[in-house]
C-alpha cells in the first residue's frame, strides 16, 4: 500500500514537542517528504533527525515542488505555523491542491476562516482542524458517559484555560508572540476548553462576556532576553457565559492572569452527577460524581476502543492520524472546519458582546451528536 506523503510547514516548539517525536506511530501509513521553515539551521537539524529529504526556506517553493509529480510530491500539508499566518499559509496549500491539517485556531477571524473553508470546498480537499480534543480518549470517554446518561440531564458546564502569568520564568524562547495582537490566552489556549465543551454539549447558540486586559506589559526576567519589555497587546482575561440551548448554560475563562488552580479544567454538571476532566493531558483521570457512588476517579486507559497513543500531555498527533484516515478512506473529517469556525466565532462574538454589552447570537454551527461508542 502506498504511503500518504506529507509536507511539514513550520517546525517551531509545537512541531518539535508534540508532532515529530510521535510521527513513527504512522510510519507504515505515511511519510514526511518535505519541510519548510524560515531558519535553515533548525530546518536542517530537524530534517536530518527525522529523515525528511526535501527542505525549503520558502513555503511557496515547497508548495510548488510538492505539487509536481515525482519524488518531491506530497498529498497533504501539515500547517504548524504561528496563529498570525494560518490564513495565508492554509489558503496557499489548499489552492495548490493539497489536503491540510492546520494547527489551532484555523484563523483569527470568522471571515478569514470562511475563506479557508470555501477554498477547501472549491478544491475538493480535506481540511482537518486542530485542536483534536474531540478525538482525545478522555473527551471521548466523557462523551460516552454522557451518552449513557451517567449524570442525568446536563444543565451547566464550566471550563477554563490558563496560559500562565508572565513573565514565564525559564521559558526557552521569546514569549512575545503569545501576547501580540491577534494571539493571547483565548485564541492560543481558550480553543481547548471551547472545543471540549462543544464536543460534549454541541454548538453554542448565544454568548455574553466580560473581557479585560489586567496587565499592559511585563519584563522578561531571565534568559538571553532578560530585561526585554513585552507589551500585552491582547486581552488577558476572558470570562464568557455560553447558552447551549436546550436549557444548558456554560461558563468559560481563558486568561494569563491566574497563577494556578486546582479546580478541574472542564466540569459538566448534570441533575444527578458531575463529570470533571482535563481536555489537554491524556494522562489525567476522568472524575465522575453520582449520587449513588460519590466521586470516582477513572485513570487512563479508559474503557473505550482507542489505539495506544501518547502517555501524557496533549496527543496532538491523533489529528495527523485523523487526516491520514480521512485521506485514505475519503471520509469527511470529524475535526471539521465547521467546528473550528464555530469556536472562532464564539471568541469573536464574545469580544463583540464585551464591547457592546449585548448578548450575541452564534451563526456558524457544526454537525454534532454524542458518539455512540460503548463503554467496555
Amino acid at each position: 500500500m502506498t504511503r500518504i506523503k506529507l509536507a511539514l510547514l513550520g517546525i517551531g516548539d509545537v512541531a518539535q514537542r508534540d508532532y515529530l517525536p510521535e510521527f513513527q506511530r504512522l510510519a507504515d501509513r505515511a511519510e514526511i517528504v518535505a519541510a519548510a521553515a524560515r531558519t535553515p539551521e533548525r530546518l536542517n537539524a530537524l530534517a536530518d533527525q527525522y529523515n525528511i529529504p526535501h527542505r525549503y526556506t520558502d513555503y511557496h517553493q515547497m508548495l510548488a515542488e510538492i505539487s509536481r509529480p515525482g519524488p518531491t510530491y506530497a498529498d497533504a500539508v501539515i500547517n504548524l505555523t504561528p496563529i498570525q499566518i494560518h490564513t495565508e499559509t492554509t489558503l496557499a496549500a489548499l489552492e495548490a491542491g493539497k489536503h491540510v491539517y492546520t494547527e489551532k485556531p484555523i484563523a483569527s477571524t470568522v471571515a478569514e476562516a470562511d475563506r479557508i473553508r470555501a477554498a477547501a470546498r472549491a478544491n475538493g480537499r480535506i481540511l482537518v482542524c486542530a485542536p483534536c480534543v474531540r478525538i482525545f480518549p478522555q473527551v471521548r470517554y466523557a462523551a460516552a458517559l454522557l451518552a449513557q446518561d451517567a449524570i442525568g440531564p446536563v444543565y451547566a458546564a464550566r471550563a477554563h484555560a490558563l496560559m500562565g502569568v508572565p513573565p514565564w520564568s525559564g521559558y526557552p524562547s521569546d514569549p512575545s508572540p503569545f501576547f501580540a495582537a491577534g494571539a493571547g490566552a483565548a485564541y492560543d489556549m481558550g480553543v481547548y476548553p471551547l472545543h471540549t465543551l462543544t464536543s460534549l454539549l454541541g454548538p453554542v447558540q448565544r454568548v455574553n462576556a466580560f473581557i479585560d486586559r489586567a496587565l499592559d506589559q511585563f519584563v522578561i526576567n531571565d534568559g538571553p532576553l532578560q530585561g526585554k519589555i513585552v507589551p500585552v497587546e491582547s486581552p488577558d482575561n476572558w470570562h464568557v457565559v455560553l447558552d447551549f440551548g436546550e436549557k444548558r448554560l456554560g461558563s468559560f475563562q481563558a486568561n494569563s492572569v491566574v497563577a494556578a488552580t486546582r479546580a478541574p479544567s472542564v466540569e459538566i454538571f448534570g441533575l444527578r452527577g458531575t463529570i470533571a476532566l482535563d481536555p489537554i493531558d491524556v494522562s489525567a483521570p476522568v472524575e465522575l460524581y453520582t449520587e449513588a457512588d460519590g466521586w470516582q476517579t477513572m485513570q487512563p486507559p479508559f474503557p473505550i476502543a482507542h489505539a495506544q497513543g501518547r502517555a501524557q500531555g496533549p496527543d496532538h498527533h491523533l489529528g495527523i492520524e485523523h487526516l491520514v484516515d480521512c485521506i485514505a478512506h475519503g471520509h469527511a473529517p470529524l475535526l471539521s472546519a465547521d467546528h473550528a469556525i464555530h469556536v472562532v466565532e464564539i471568541l469573536e462574538k464574545s469580544a463583540h458582546a464585551a464591547e457592546t454589552g449585548r448578548v450575541q447570537t452564534i451563526e456558524n454551527t457544526f454537525a454534532w451528536e454524542l458518539p455512540r461508542e460503548s463503554i467496555q
Binding site: H160, D212, A214, V240, L249, A259, R262, F269, L271, T274
Partner: protein, 379 residues
C-alpha cells in the same frame, strides 16, 4: 445582663420551625432576646407555634402584632416578596428589624426600607452576615497575598424545598407549602446563590457590572401530590465584574456539585496565588476550611464555635447563622452601633440579582447603581 429585648416573629414557616424558634427558645437566647409574639397568615400555624414554643401572643398580620404586643425587634421570616411590606410596617412603628435573605425583591424596596429606618432611627440587620464568622475576615487578609485577583467562581448548585422533612408531617406546623420558592420574586438566585453573593462581596467588595443567562429546566414540581408550576428561571449563570476588576461567575441551578469547590464555596484566582474554600458548614453556610496556594499550599480550618454566639445547643440546631445575625442585631441595639449584617450590602446583593434577571431577559449587560462600604475596599 440587662432586660431582654422583646421580639415578634413574622412568618412561622419551615425556617422558623427548624431554626429560628428552636434557637430563640433556648435559655441563653432568652436572656438576650425574648420572643413575645408570633404572626402567620395561617391562623392555626400562628396559634400552634405559640403553644408549642410557649410564646405569649399570636397574630395573623404584622399590623395586629404591632398593635397587640410590645416589641423592640420584628423578625421578618416570611417568603421573600413579603419582606418589604412587613419590614416597612415594623420600621414605621419604630421597631428594629431583622430581615431574612433576600432582603427585598428590588433595590427600590430596599432603598425605601433603608431611608425609613434612618428616619425612624431604627436598625436593620439583613441576612446572611458572613462577617459574623471569622473565616471571612481571615480570607480577606489572605487575598492580599494573591496579587491581583482577576478571576473567581462561586458554587451554590442544588435548589429545592419540597423535600424538606418538616414539610412531610401532619398539621399546621408541618404542611407548609413551598410553592412560593418557584414564583416571581424567589427562585435559586435570592434563595441559594445569595449565599455566594453575600460571601464574595464581603471578600472582594462591590460589583460594577452584571450580565447573565438563564432558563427554566423544570417546569413543574410536586409537593404532597400537588403540582407546583415553576414560574421563575431555575437555571442561572451570573457573570459579575467587580469594582476591583475581578471577573466572577455565580451559578443558581439544580445541578450537582463541583469536584474541587463545595456547595457555598468560592475559588479566587490571582496573579500570585489561589484561594479555594474546601469545606462549608452545611447548617450555616459558613466557610470552615480554605486553602491558600502561593509558593506552597496552606490550609486553614475553623470550627463552627468560632462564631461566639454559637455555643452548646446552638451548635446542633439548624440555621445557626440566622441566630447569630439576630443576636448581633440585639447587641448592636444595646451598643448603639450598626449591625454587622449590613442592609447596604444586602441591598447591593439584591441589585446584583435584579440586574442578573434584567440581563438574562434583555441580553443587555447591566451597570449597578448601589455600593456599600466594606473592609474589602478600605485600607
Amino acid at each position: 445582663m440587662s432586660t431582654p429585648l422583646r421580639a415578634g416573629l413574622v412568618g412561622c414557616g419551615s425556617l422558623s420551625q427548624r431554626g429560628v424558634l428552636p434557637h430563640l427558645t433556648q435559655a441563653d437566647a432568652q436572656d438576650n432576646v425574648k420572643l413575645v409574639a408570633v404572626a402567620d397568615v395561617v391562623e392555626a400555624r400562628a396559634r400552634e407555634t405559640a403553644q408549642h414554643f410557649k410564646i405569649p401572643a399570636h397574630f395573623t398580620t404584622i399590623e395586629e402584632m404591632l398593635d397587640g404586643a410590645d416589641i423592640d425587634i420584628a423578625l421578618i421570616i416570611t417568603p421573600i416578596p413579603f419582606h418589604h411590606p412587613n419590614a416597612l410596617a415594623a420600621i414605621r412603628a419604630g421597631k428594629h428589624v431583622y430581615i431574612q435573605k433576600a432582603m427585598t425583591t428590588t433595590v427600590a424596596e430596599a432603598d425605601e426600607l433603608i431611608a425609613e429606618a434612618t428616619a425612624a432611627n431604627v436598625k436593620i440587620a439583613a441576612a446572611p452576615g458572613f462577617e459574623l464568622f471569622p473565616s471571612t475576615a481571615h480570607m480577606r487578609d489572605a487575598i492580599r497575598n494573591l496579587g491581583r485577583v482577576c478571576v473567581g467562581h462561586t458554587y451554590t448548585m442544588g435548589f429545592g424545598h419540597e423535600f424538606e422533612p418538616i414539610r412531610g408531617g401532619e398539621g399546621a406546623l408541618a404542611e407548609i407549602n413551598p410553592a412560593w420558592y418557584y414564583r416571581a420574586g424567589a427562585g435559586p438566585l435570592p434563595d441559594v446563590t445569595i449565599y455566594s453573593l453575600q460571601l464574595i462581596t464581603s471578600l472582594l467588595g462591590p460589583v460594577r457590572r452584571v450580565t447573565a443567562l438563564s432558563n427554566k429546566v423544570q417546569a413543574q414540581r410536586t409537593w404532597r401530590g400537588e403540582t407546583i408550576d415553576v414560574e421563575v428561571d431555575d437555571n442561572n449563570l451570573v457573570l459579575m465584574e467587580f469594582q476591583s476588576g475581578a471577573l466572577v461567575t455565580a451559578v443558581g441551578a439544580n445541578c450537582r456539585g463541583s469536584r474541587r469547590i463545595p456547595w457555598g464555596g468560592v475559588g479566587l484566582y490571582g496573579t500570585d496565588g489561589t484561594l479555594e474554600i474546601l469545606d462549608v458548614d452545611h447548617a450555616s453556610g459558613y466557610p470552615t476550611a480554605y486553602e491558600v496556594t502561593t509558593d506552597k499550599a496552606q490550609e486553614y480550618t475553623f470550627d463552627l464555635d468560632a462564631q461566639p454566639w454559637l455555643r452548646a445547643e446552638h451548635l446542633n440546631i439548624e440555621e445557626p447563622h440566622v441566630y447569630a445575625d439576630i443576636m448581633d442585631l440585639a447587641a448592636a441595639i444595646r451598643e448603639d452601633r450598626a449591625p454587622i449584617a449590613s442592609a447596604e450590602q444586602a441591598r447591593h446583593v439584591v441589585e446584583i440579582i435584579e440586574a442578573a434577571r434584567a440581563a438574562s431577559a434583555s441580553g443587555a449587560t447591566q451597570t449597578l447603581q448601589t455600593t456599600f462600604a466594606t473592609p474589602a475596599t478600605e485600607s
